[in-house]
Amino acid sequence: MNSTIKYFTDIFKGVLSLWAGMRVTGKYFISPGEIVTEQYPENRATLKMTGRFKGEVIMPHDENNQHKCTGCGICELNCPNGSIEIITKKVPNEEGKMIRAIDKHIYHLSMCTFCELCIKTCPFDAITWGQDFEHAVFDRAKLTKVLNKPGSSLKKKEVKS
């Protein structure tokens, strides 16, 4: 007799618990409230990343095509997996003295682990995070980028008064 009662109470409890779960899903089916799904390729125009988003390493240039990179190579030293290569050249300065300057700042996006050590240790704040996140390409070689633009030069230090 006891087993029969237990059998039926188990069925009753089971149906109740299933109904409690179905009520949750039913509630969201009828009144979803806040819709969290983003329609990604369609909302591309309005999609904004947060300012600190780690998209890729970029080197900002100003309107005169000038950057802040001196080619000291500290970022290359600090990179744990060799995704940065610095190639320097000698250029004459105003007094005619040959000084070191950046020729190519090569950045391998395919090897980058986004640890932020290069940006954090750069003494001149020459590199920063870009907000671009669509990095899919068909050829791996396209992920190797030269960060300084062709014909760019070093920005002169502003004299602090």
Binding site: G21, R52, F53, E116, L117
Partner: protein, 377 residues
């Protein structure tokens, strides 16, 4: 060989038994773990885990990295509690150097620890339901985890692998809205917890799949070194936050969740209660977080540890993570050894699944909450 030598053969496989490979691409193992399962009918005779499919040699790689560079490698061990892994190395280095980090940093670290823990348990809840056939939980869990990831993304730019800690403090200050958004999240998540209860915790099918399945007693948990929520489900009191408090945890009031049944459902209950406990910790910490004090202590640009051996253990979302550093006085560590929680937790799986059916193996594997890159390192 003399004739007296008796050839001893351990019979692993009867004639009717067959061997099935679960993995390396099986969805229920959550990664590249290969389980060689010997079955007679549907009953599991034994199970041999084959690991190493995602071995990257993190410990060896760390030997040629400076202490600041080691941090980003620890992200990739237990990727669901990456912040806590970072903290373990940072605490070991700070202890070796005798650096006092500002109180504000300790608060932020603890807040991020607890947020990471909730996010990790949230993902586990989603995936555990999905393993047992309840696909609905996956979407509900992911929706709530997204809120934490947004807080992470806002403050440190990445959602999963945030190398945000550095020896001596943090890489940046947190976002100005960090406190506000964390409190909003705590409020939001408290409202969502009854849904979790109705969807899975009280579900009768879920009860039948988990109660009494994979019973691990306290002795077994201690013998195998099963720590974290899996060990606490067997009554093994192993919370490092209580036993050896690090950071700000000795000033926080919280209770250690212990269940004594030791089955899959007890491990489930521990994690569900831990999420609530983490919310309580968050509320205490966010209210008392000092506004000033900086985000890093003064550190030398090149960190060189004095010669010696250092050990630091922390409580990740899956158990006890130990970091053992041997230094010879150089700027690179001579040897780093990680005692990862999942490696120990995996090997109890054979004993638990013996004699059960193969569907139970999936439930037990899910309830242990294994993260495969942490096993292989």
């Amino acid at each position: 060989m003399s004739e007296e030598t008796v050839e001893k053969k351990i019979i692993l496989k009867e004639e009717d038994d067959y061997i099935v490979n679960m993995g390396p691409q099986h969805p229920s193992t959550h990664g590249v773990l290969r389980l060689e399962v010997c079955l007679s009918g549907e009953t599991v005779n034994y199970m041999i885990p084959h690991i190493g499919y995602i071995h990257r040699g993190i410990e060896k790689m760390a030997e040629s990295d400076t202490y600041k560079q080691v941090i980003h490698l620890t992200d990739r061990m237990d990727y669901l509690s990456s912040h806590i892994n970072n903290e373990a190395v940072c605490l070991a280095v700070e202890e070796a150097l005798g650096v006092e980090v500002p109180e504000r940093v300790q608060y932020i670290r603890a807040i991020l620890d607890e947020l990471t823990r909730i996010a990790s348990h949230n993902l586990w809840w989603s995936a555990f339901g999905m393993d047992l056939g309840a696909l609905t939980t996956f979407f509900y869990g992911m929706r709530d985890r997204e809120k934490i990831l947004s807080i992470f993304e806002e403050s440190f730019g990445s959602r999963l692998l945030h190398s945000f800690n550095t020896p001596g403090g943090l890489l940046h200050d947190v976002h100005p809205d960090f406190r506000k958004h964390t409190l909003e999240y705590v409020k939001y998540f408290r409202k969502k917890l009854p849904d979790y209860k109705n969807l899975l915790t009280d579900n009768v099918i879920f009860h039948n799949r988990t109660i009494g399945i994979g019973v691990m007693d306290k002795k077994m948990a201690i013998n195998y070194g099963v720590t974290g929520p899996s060990g606490r489900g067997s009554g093994f009191s192993c919370d490092i936050r209580k036993a050896a408090p690090y950071g700000i945890y000795d000033k926080v009031k919280f209770k250690e969740i212990l269940y004594h049944e030791g089955d899959s459902f007890a491990r489930y209950k521990v994690r569900m209660d831990e999420m609530v406990e983490s919310l309580n910790i968050l509320e205490q910490l966010v209210d008392n977080m000092p506004e000033e004090g900086g985000f890093t202590a003064k550190m030398k640009p090149v960190i060189k540890l004095p010669e010696g051996e250092y050990y630091q253990r922390v409580e990740t979302a899956r158990g006890e993570l130990g970091v053992y550093i041997v230094s010879k006085g150089a700027k690179y560590p001579y040897r780093i050894k990680f005692r990862s929680p999942n490696f120990s937790n995996l090997f109890v799986l054979n004993t638990l699944s013996k004699g059960g059916i193969i569907a139970d193996l999936v439930a037990i594997c899910g309830s242990l909450d294994l993260v495969i890159p942490d096993i292989d390192r």
